[in-house]
Subunit: 214 residues, 4 copies
DNA sequence: TATGAATGAGGTTTCATTCAT
DNA sequence: CATGAATGAAACCTCATTCAT
């Protein structure tokens, strides 16, 4: 009755419904894949009826797309500051720790679904491209921040020209994706694995990397 | 007329049927996932009718298991020798080339399907463990081969103790998965990215790699 | 402020809402049938939301009943005077023109829906009977008017006894339904066809109509 | 086991399944309309499972189309010979009797459905046009047969030029459709109504039809 | 061995209806 | 009065599987 107390109740209620459905969907998609996750299971997990889903999303594919957008946004606004907050030489360790301990479970498996759906659902191409483009831009931003935060000549820039920079960005993104995927698959990753992978990628790309000091 | 000859022919015919069904299944699983791939689509792609499938496999899950075995075996007998045949420093390039150009699309993602099926299909546990073990063993084999093929002191062993070895194995597997995932997402990976990632992982794990002063 | 004026406005507003919903329903029922017409489509076509429907009608079947009443009333107050306003021999042409050019598409087919709903909705029986009775009464009224408007002996009454009258009424209704059905099926009916059919029915029922051997 | 006894069993079995499903569909469509008839009700009435339907028809709309074709074919091969077998002046009575007593129940209501589906299913246009074209051709054939069977000058041809013939054909088809529709709606038609309608249409189209002998 | 008609559980989606606002 | 989020029954359709041939 109190209008103050009830203000925006309708909108808030629906927003919460959407949020809970998205969370449930993330878990079901991760557990059973896109085709294997049923809308009944998603809505039951979220505590709603079947119809609530169709009040908030047009189709199952629409849900996957919205989920992808939400997860990507969260990745950029949560993971990025967390990683950049640490200063070298702890940044690599901090990034590894975040990826392994705090990154939402199952997040990467949704990407697997998108990759699979692409050939048979050409209309998803645009969304997928946007996601990967954003991911690469995000990684590039991390690298730029790393450059900037390095004091002067103490640490050489990890890359010099555009080609190098592109290879580095792709490699770093592949490393992050691979680590999260392995983790989500149930492998008990030790911190050493993540650090080694990230450090290796970020190492100066001298041609003799992999060789000895010689 | 000759029963010997005819029996041979029969066996050959059936073998070809199985092979074609497995090939078609690999493509459909990669494209749509396990739950999303239909037996009709698989048999149609192979040029058979529904019944041919059930003459050769008990269930859809059974098909996935056989396919996993076949792919793992092929990976070990075809890809591995090709990679090992090259000597350093070309081996890394060769491995990168294989991953990006020749590895069947979505092949490693079959692991994702198996991992997903495990909770609801406890009877698959044994097979999944066998595959996981083989995967790790395969990576270990690559590393060992790298050790062995290196002439003496020219190239130091990439790992020294068990802990190190485990971290290295996990990192390498993560790198491979990440690269394949990015590729399947449509990112145009240059060879530099893959080489950098793999070289970085395989680099000697000096504590100061990528970092320390000097 | 004036409650009298406001009450009037309210009533008018609601009346308009009902009218627009009924018009939209007529079009949707004609296009898709009762079962195939959705309340969402009806309200959207009328420019309202779902809730407006349930503020004005109890159920979907209730809407159909009200619509039937309205259409029947309109048919009697609009079409009938128009047809009767013309004098013979133009009356037949006028009736044909109305049927082919002005009768709302699918209007009479609402009868089909009502007949279909009867077995599964016994409570509708009374309304259906009322509509059927009115339909026959309407046709009878047309015939009576035809009798009356004929000047004296110029035109013999089209029917003489009750049996004849019943046959004539049924034939006329069949002719009207047949013409509307053909029209709705997309046949490009010329005015000649309708006139011939109606004139034939209304012709004196001499036993030798149709050409006995004289 | 006896190959003679079992010959063509597969094909025969499926043909019977299709036939029974089509019969059941005709009854359900007539009773509840296209949208109101459920596939479950159709298959249950035919004595099959839900899936049997999809082994024989692609979609529900596909079933409606096939049913229309079958009914039209049956109309041409059954009704036409029966009507033409009688000689004048009994032909009109025979036609009326057939329409009221032997024509399959509900047959015409399927046409109502087709008329309704046309606006929203443009792909049905071709089929509907084919059906109406065939119907008109059939009616024309009846009229031609009537001409031919009339002995010489005894009975003037019911139509003379093309325009007249077209109007006559349309009127006759409308009469038949109207009669069947009324019958299927539950009206207890007496033979007089049908005969009057048909005779009236077939009467010579002198301009003074409907007038008196002056 | 291979075929494909038939089964029926279960999936996605629609939609009449309710109810808090 | 009107809105529209939520409900849940029931619809259409898919598909893994069985079985007679």
């Amino acid at each position: 009755m109190n209008p103050e107390r009830r203000r925006q109740t309708r909108a808030q209620t629906q927003a919460e419904t959407r949020t809970r459905l998205l969370e449930a969907a993330a878990e079901e998609f991760a557990a059973h894949g896109f085709a294997g996750a049923s809308i009944d299971a998603i809505t039951a997990r979220a505590g709603y009826s079947r119809g609530a889903f169709y009040s908030n999303f047009a189709t199952k594919a629409d849900l996957l797309l919205e989920l992808s957008e939400v997860q990507m946004a969260r990745f950029s606004t949560t993971a990025l500051p967390a990683i950049l907050a640490a200063t070298e030489p702890d940044r690599t360790a901090e990034a590894a720790r975040y990826l392994l301990r705090e990154a939402p479970a199952g997040e990467l498996l949704v990407l697997v679904e998108l990759a699979r759906l692409r050939p048979s659902h050409p209309e998803l191409g645009g969304v997928i491209d946007r996601l990967t483009t954003r991911s690469l831009a995000f990684v590039d931003e991390v690298l730029t921040a790393a450059d900037t935060s390095s004091t002067a000549a103490e640490q050489p820039a990890p890359s010099v020209d555009a080609t190098e920079r592109r290879a580095l960005t792709q490699a770093l993104l592949a490393a992050v994706l691979g680590l999260l995927l392995l983790r989500d698959l149930g492998v008990d990753l030790g911190p050493d694995a993540a650090q080694r992978l990230l450090r290796g990628v970020l190492a100066p790309s001298n041609d003799d990397v992999g060789g000895g000091p010689r």
